[in-house]
Every structure is written in C-alpha cells, then in structure tokens.
Symmetry: C2
Subunit: 336 residues, 2 copies
DNA sequence: AGTTGTTGCGCACAGGTGTGCGCAGTATCT
DNA sequence: AGATACTGCGCACACCTGTGCGCAACAACT
C-alpha cells in the first residue's frame, strides 16, 4: 500500500467534498462534531500526511529557509547551523542547506535555487572568493528576507550578526593581565583581515589600558607556515625572557603553539599562559586543556534565525543593523 | 522590484496563453521561433524564475532529498554531507537537512517532515538513542526511497553504506608490523559496539596472521575516562618494555595518547609508532602529525547518494545490500 | 480547387490544499 | 405559521506549471 493519501481520497471514501475534509482536519470553517471525528478517524487509519508542498503553494509560503554556508568542515559553522535549526524548528521552518565550498559560482547557484524554491528567507555567510554581490542584490530586488552571519557584506542594507572580535580579544588579554602576566605576545593571521584585525586591536588596546607597552617583536603574523611559529617564539623568548602570556587567534594554532612551547621546555601554564580562540573540539583534547574564547556559534545562529523570522513575520523595514555577539572566556588548563 | 513573475503574467503581457509561454521556455511542444524568442526575451527582462514548488507539485516530485544526521558537530558527518551534496547537485536535487542531536524524538519528527514535504528520498544515519524503528518502517510503507549510512539498522531491508572497520583496522595493524613494530597495543571503545568491535577483531586477526600473540594486557577498553589511558600505558610499558606500536580507535584519543607518551619520555615515532582513526582535523595539527585511517566520509556520502538516486530513478528493487567502504591509510609523522 | 499534412496555439485538466460564497436544511423567535 | 438566524456542507476558484488534445490556419500536393 504505497502512495500518499490525499484529502480528496478521504472525501471520496466518505462521500463528502474535499473541502469538508479540509475543514475537519484544520477546524477552520464550520463543521459538525460528528463529521469531524469521522474524518479524523479515517485520516488516521489511512495514514494521511498533509502535502506541505501543495499547502505552501496555495498559501504562498514555502516553509523553507535557505542556509548558505561557505565551508561545512569548519566546526564553527556546524554550531551556527545547530543554533539556526533550534530556532527555526520552533517556528515551523525547515532548512535547505547549501555548502558553497568557498566558491562564488556555487554561491550564485545557491541563491538561484533559493529563488526557484520560493524559500521564505535566506541566512548566508559569504564565501571567501566572493568579489561581486549582484546575486545578493537580486535577492533583495525580490524582497527576499535576508540576514548575514559571520562573513558579511558590510555595505549591503541587510542585518548582520557577527562576533565582537575586538571585545573578545580585549577580554582575553585583560584576563591574562589580571592573572599576573606581565609580558604578553600575540599571534594573529595576516589574511581574513576583518576578524583578525579587530582581535589585534583588542589585544593592543587592552595592553595600553593596563599601561603596558605594545612591542612589534611580540606580535607574529601567521601565514599558514608553521615553522615560522617556532622561529618567532624562540626569537621572542630570547629578546623577552620574561614572556609569560600568549593570545592566539585560533585554537588549532594555539594547540600547535603549546606543543612548541612544551618542546622548548616551558611549563604551561606555570611559565606561560595561553589563550586560544573559538573553542573548537581540539581545545578539550589537549593536555592541559586549552583556555579559549567561546566563539558563540549557536548563539549567532539563533540570533540570526530570530532576526530573519521577525523580518518575515512582521515585515519590519530592513536596515543594515549589525548585531554583535559578546563571546565568553572559557578558562581551562592553559591559564592560571 | 517586488514579487515573483509567473508565466501567466508573461502570457498576459504578450496576449497569449500561459501554455504557449510554458512551451516557449521549455521547448517541449511545437512553437514558432519568433514567439519563442519573444517570450524568452520578456522572461529575461522581467527576471522570471520558474516556481519549483508548483512545477514539482504537478510532476509529483519535490526535487528534495531529506538528509538526517545525528550530530553535526562530529566532523565526519560534515564530510559525508559534502559528499552527498556533490552528487545530489549533479542530479538536480537539493538537501533538506535534519540534525537530530542524537534524540529519537527529533528523528521521528524529521521523518514526519520528510513525508509532509513529499521528499523524493531520505538518507539517514541513526541516532544513538534510537531504540525503535517504526518511524523508518512507516517511511518504507510509503515506498519512500531510503538509504542508511554509517549508523545503520541492520535488520531493515534498506541499502546501507558503512566503513569496513575490520579491514581498516587490519590494514593499520599490518602496516605497523611491516614497519618493524613487534609489540602492538590497541585502545578501543567499550560503547558503540558495532564499529569498535570490528576494529578490535581486525587488529587481533592481523596479529595472528603475522604469528604474533594477542595479549589482554595490551588492549584497553576506553570509557571516556582519560586518566585510565595514562594508567593503562604505564602498566603496559612496565609489563612489556618492548611496546613499540599503538593503534587507537579515534583521532582525538590518539592525540591525547601521544601527549601522554611524550610526557612519559617516549619519542614518537622512534620509540613508539601510533596510528589513529578517522583523519579528523586534529590529526594535522599535532606534532608530529598523526598517521591515521581515512574514514572516507565524502566517499560514503557520494556512494549513499548514488545508491539513493538509482533507487529513485530506476525503481530498482530494494534489498538490505551492504556497501563497504575500504578506508585508506594516511601516513604522517607518528609512524616510521 | 479539393484533399492531406503540418504548424502554432488555446482549452482544459492535473497535481493537493484552503477558503469565500452561497444554498439548503434546521432551529429559534415573534 | 411566518420571519429570521444559524448550521453544515458543496461549488468554484486560487496558487503555478506542464501537457494531451483539438481547432484553425496555412502550405503543399494531386
């Protein structure tokens, strides 16, 4: 007994019209209690499943939200998706997932599909290779509700949910200071400027705030060449033997850094405290476990989804509002 | 500017019927070249996007595949999804993603939604807490194409794509032997029996095959208590000072184990070779980098998707066929 | 010129659901 | 008993696309 049961089929079996069945199941129009229970009972028995597609077609809503992510293998984004899903599910939406693999063509295609499927809204993080934005503008021309998260196009009049990198970095640095560190180095990334620059400024301002000098010799611009980290640390330790704190822009690199420091004979955190960034799984699998900044992926996803829903529902005027997420410190074994 | 353009609207503007427009755009019926170009031109100008929902409704296909995953934060599953997406996109399908967060209720709900949206097929990995299978049986009663991956229900007559854990473990162990190891220990998990038991047998059989004894003292059953690993290693090294090889059921635990061994003064891989399992990102962030078994997530996703498509398209009879994926060794710095 | 073949397009329906309107039947009130 | 109100349900349309059938117009043939 294969295929789906429709309300028309139920209507046929009961010798009534399909509208009666519809009313019985939804309780919207007037319907006698006797007929209602009769219909409900048969629907139950035949295993009726309402056809969302048809329903949404006639209502003009799809019940689907397009979620566009640049790289699923970045753990952070999976947390964002979890946050998105929790909120959307509450509101009765499902997720159509697009993984652009950092390709602009894929991103364009994803948006095309969102339009074709008459998705009710789009949540997107922009790919690194995206250098034109006509596809997003097209979305806006169709008045499609859109919210950016994490990777945003600042100049588009679209709400954006992003991490407060500046505050996060300053918080981490201030903690290092308050726990007794007197000479704090920072490893930052030379690409992906938006995020890491803000973290760099947060680090520098926290130092200045505490009356500590910012020294170029204590800042390393990482460019995906691991060896440079060992060289940097050896040189920094030679110039500043009192080096006792380190803030790293990313947990994976922090993990590597801890290994290098241990190999150089340093005790973590007794000699040197280390704080990473993102709270990736690797953080809890290190020895000692890594203190880090919780990137707040689920929170970001949840807020972005809420914002999107309120745009869809209340039709609120869309502006370029930027929602900042203040990350939390997660203190584990690499700090005092 | 504003809402969607329909073929009816295009037809109205050209004073023809909507079927003419449909034919012009799809080229299925007979149509004059003049009319065709006229329609296409106007459609282009108005920014026409065909309404997939309506199209699929009339064709009786949704063009959507439901993908049910127990935990997105497990990196392996994101690779599977990437593999799935690559294949499905080729075939013109989109993904509706469900993350059950290892909850059976969520899994039941996901399947309910798949039915409501008249999804064309379902790819599922079962949650750990699933102890009844009526929801999957319901899916089968509706003749919904279904393929399991990684976490499967063996007794259901559904194709399954899984890792060949036995062969993977035996391959890893044989490599350790061939690279000169003469005393090889194994850390396995005491839960999730299916997978880890097969790995355990693969390890044991490889030893026997090489004429080496299987010793209980060299096998540790890990139960998420890290301290036990240090205790196990110290004891094993005392009883078997010649211990020079280690096969671990999971990269994260392997990472921890390498840290412990280094702390015990062992050189990796000079004194002891280590092989992990899964090729998680952490493997490349260790020093030395971890040799491991590539779990083959993308391959698994791709094969599962292909199987599903062939069921949908050719309507091939469904059986409980089990497709095994033979993982590859990834040799890095923790082996000789 | 009449017959046959071909071409271009409209009509009407299918797919499943929801709803405004109206009709018939019953209950209530005067 | 007649007027009014209300109840229960069917009809027809909307949402949008695709297609089988048939009609009309025209070309080509005998």
């Amino acid at each position: 007994m294969g295929k789906y049961v429709t309300i028309t089929e139920i209507a046929r079996q009961l010798n009534v019209s399909h509208s009666t069945v519809s009313r019985a199941l939804n309780g919207h129009g007037r319907i006698s209690e006797k007929m209602r229970s009769q219909v409900v009972e048969l629907a139950e028995r035949l295993g009726y499943q309402s056809n969302s597609t048809a329903h949404r077609l006639s209502k003009g809503e799809s019940g689907i939200i397009g979620v566009i992510v640049p790289d699923l293998s970045i753990h952070f984004f999976t947390k964002v998706i979890a946050g998105i899903q929790a909120v959307l599910q509450q509101a009765g939406y499902e997720i159509m997932l697009f993984n652009t693999a950092e390709s602009m063509e894929q991103e364009v295609r994803a948006i095309e599909q969102c339009l074709k499927y008459r998705v009710d809204g789009v949540l997107a993080a922009i790919s690194m290779k995206t250098n034109a934005f006509t596809h997003f503008q097209k979305l806006l021309r169709y008045e499609m509700p859109l919210v950016f998260f994490d990777r945003v196009a600042n100049f588009l009049p679209v709400p954006k949910v992003v991490t407060n990198d500046y505050q996060a970095a300053s918080k981490a640095t201030r903690y290092l200071i308050s726990s007794g560190c007197r000479c704090i180095a920072h490893i930052t990334a030379s690409i992906n400027l938006n995020n890491s620059n803000n973290r760099l400024y947060g680090y520098m301002d926290a130092l200045k705030e505490a009356g500590m000098p910012v020294k170029e010799a204590l800042i390393h611009y990482y460019e995906f060449d691991r060896e440079s980290i060992g060289q940097f640390l050896e040189k920094a330790l030679k110039q500043h033997p009192g080096l006792d704190g380190l803030f790293v822009f990313n947990d994976y690199v922090a993990n590597y850094t801890v290994n290098v420091l241990q190999k150089l004979g340093k005790q973590i955190p007794t000699d040197i405290s280390v704080i990473g960034f993102s709270d990736e799984p690797v953080a809890t699998y290190m020895t000692p476990q890594l203190s880090t900044v919780q990137h707040g992926g689920e929170k970001m996803g949840g807020l972005a989804a809420q914002k999107l829903i309120s745009i869809i529902k209340k039709n609120e005027p869309v502006d370029g509002e930027k929602i900042l997420i203040n990350p939390e410190l997660v203190l584990r074994g690499t700090t005092r």
